[in-house]
Amino acid sequence: MLRYLSVRIFSSAIVIFGVVSIIFVLARLVGDPVLLMVEPGTTQQDMAEMRTALGLDRPILEQYASFVVGAFHGDFGDSVRQSTPAFDLVMDRLPATLLLTASALGFAVVGALILGILSALYRGSIIDRLANALALFGQSIPNFWLAMMLILFLSSTMRLLPSAGYGTVQHLIMPTLALGLFSLARLTRLVRSELLETLSQDYVRTARAKGVGPVAIVVRHALGNVAIPMITLIAVDFGALMGGAVVTETVFAWPGVGRLMIQAIGQRDFPVIQAGAFVIATLVVVTSLITDLAYALVNPKIRYA
């Protein structure tokens, strides 16, 4: 267990290191990062001064070393537009992003359990068919388009919910639906198929023969088997969920890291883009580490390996 733990933590550290390197290489790939930060039409002299100020005249390996050291201290330089540290700007926005992803994930998990259980218990019924259709549609609708359609119907036409903004539960509903539907669809199919498989096992038949009711069978005997594949799928999809948050936030003017990054792209504010990418990637890596450790704790095959 200890060996597994240390290997897993070490490889996560390597992955984060690699992410930092990718960001560095991308920034330098174009040759001149200053070109990424200035408005078109800036004079050569201003650009030369900026180059010196940013240390871009130093040897590339030295720049790389200081970039990596800086990144692990959360130092990506100051935002070009707001002259505050880029990392601080990102961290200010992080709670909003976490709230949105957590809410979307919660919606997906609860919804998938309800739909998955119902469609497994009543296989072939109208509920099963509806849940299947929802799962298929949910995986086929781009979240940003769903977001716009929700705004169109629930906000513009029916005037039920605010179309954009942050602060109240009402503001959270549409972004949660738009971001969570994809995960809901994936998880529903998983819950259904895992449950169907479990319900055909011998021990479930034995439980049934003893007179255990359908609800008790699902809750006491089957759901435990669904938990592990569910956690795995959530971990696999978490990156996509964070990526989806970037797009969803933009549509709903949700003040999270994603919207900050997209605004930064419009303003050519490269330090903010780098810091945002670093924070989100780190979050994904840490989440996957935590789920792996949780997985190891519940799975004796790994625990004693």
Partner: protein, 291 residues
């Protein structure tokens, strides 16, 4: 044998009913591909022709002596239906080009990695881990920002960001197959590494890769639309379903049709590909054939 196997088989409905979804999906995709190929002759209007006098016309508007604006016009007076027909070309090109590109690159790397094992495998798989830790869309946004907008760059960036998916599947297959008896036999007969990889491992590793590729096509279409929607994919002067959604977003309350119809086109395309991919997967996987 489980209890479920002993239950009498449910009464089978007619073939057409059972495959209705597949037929509809196939029909829609055929129409989409044909309209992409024949776009020039099908469009009622030049999709890029601006006409400020007829801007923001609702769907179904028609003037004497002109074809109707079936799906309305945008704020520059461009016909939305013509835009959707032209935009289908971008979506389909991106969808298939990126899957073929990323599939070839990822499969090659994965098979070599899994067959070679050792340090090469370690390095390549660490690289895959790093890339998969980075949310696709985020990496793609960063790269598009650095490379600049354009169709070629979108395809390039999507290939660079998605090859690890194929690499991982191909590696697992190569690992499994490299210890199989027929590969050992081939090696004993003196077959070189390239021959073993191409003639013996690759053909047997294809099934899961084809399934992954089929499910990736709609993902790539969504990514292109998302990148263009966010303003880093195709330039807004070019027509794709993503750029149409981006322009429609600013006019959502005044002119709902600009964003609604290209979105429906995306959803129908993706739904069709997903339905057919699912059928493909079930057919290729004997364990799923009866589910």
């Amino acid at each position: 044998m489980t209890a479920a196997d002993l239950e009498p088989a449910p009464r089978q409905s007619p073939w057409v009913v059972r495959h209705l979804a597949h037929l509809l999906a196939g029909a829609f995709l055929t129409v989409a591909i044909l309209s992409a190929l024949l776009a020039r002759w099908l469009v009622p209007y030049d999709p890029l022709m601006t006409d400020v006098l007829s801007n923001l016309l609702p769907p179904g508007t028609s003037f004497d002596g002109q074809p109707a604006y079936v799906l309305g016009t945008d704020m520059l007076g461009r016909d939305v239906l013509s835009g959707i027909i032209y935009g289908s070309r971008i979506s389909l090109i991106v969808g298939f080009a990126t899957v073929v590109g990323a599939g070839v690159v990822g499969t090659a790397i994965g098979i070599i990695s899994g067959y070679h094992k050792g340090w090469l495998d370690e390095v390549l798989m660490r690289l895959v881990d790093i890339q998969l830790a980075f949310p696709f869309i985020l990496l793609a946004i960063l790269m598009m920002y650095v490379l600049g907008q354009g169709l070629f760059n979108v395809i390039l960036v999507l290939i660079i960001t998605t090859w690890p998916i194929y690499a991982r599947v191909a590696r697992a297959e190569a690992l499994r197959l490299s210890t199989s008896e027929y590969v050992t036999a081939a090696r004993a007969l003196g077959a070189g590494t390239p021959r073993i990889l191409l003639r013996h491992i690759l053909p047997n590793a294809m099934t899961p890769l084809i399934v992954v590729a089929a499910f990736s096509v709609p993902q790539m279409i969504i990514y292109e639309a998302a990148l263009s929607f966010l303003g880093v994919g195709l330039p807004s002067s070019e027509l794709s379903w993503g750029t149409m959604l981006a322009t429609g977003r600013d006019y959502l309350t005044q002119a709902w049709w600009i964003a609604t119809f290209p979105g429906i086109a995306i959803v129908c395309t993706i739904l069709s590909i997903n339905v057919l991919s699912e059928a493909l997967r079930q057919n290729l996987d004997p364990n799923l054939r009866n589910q």
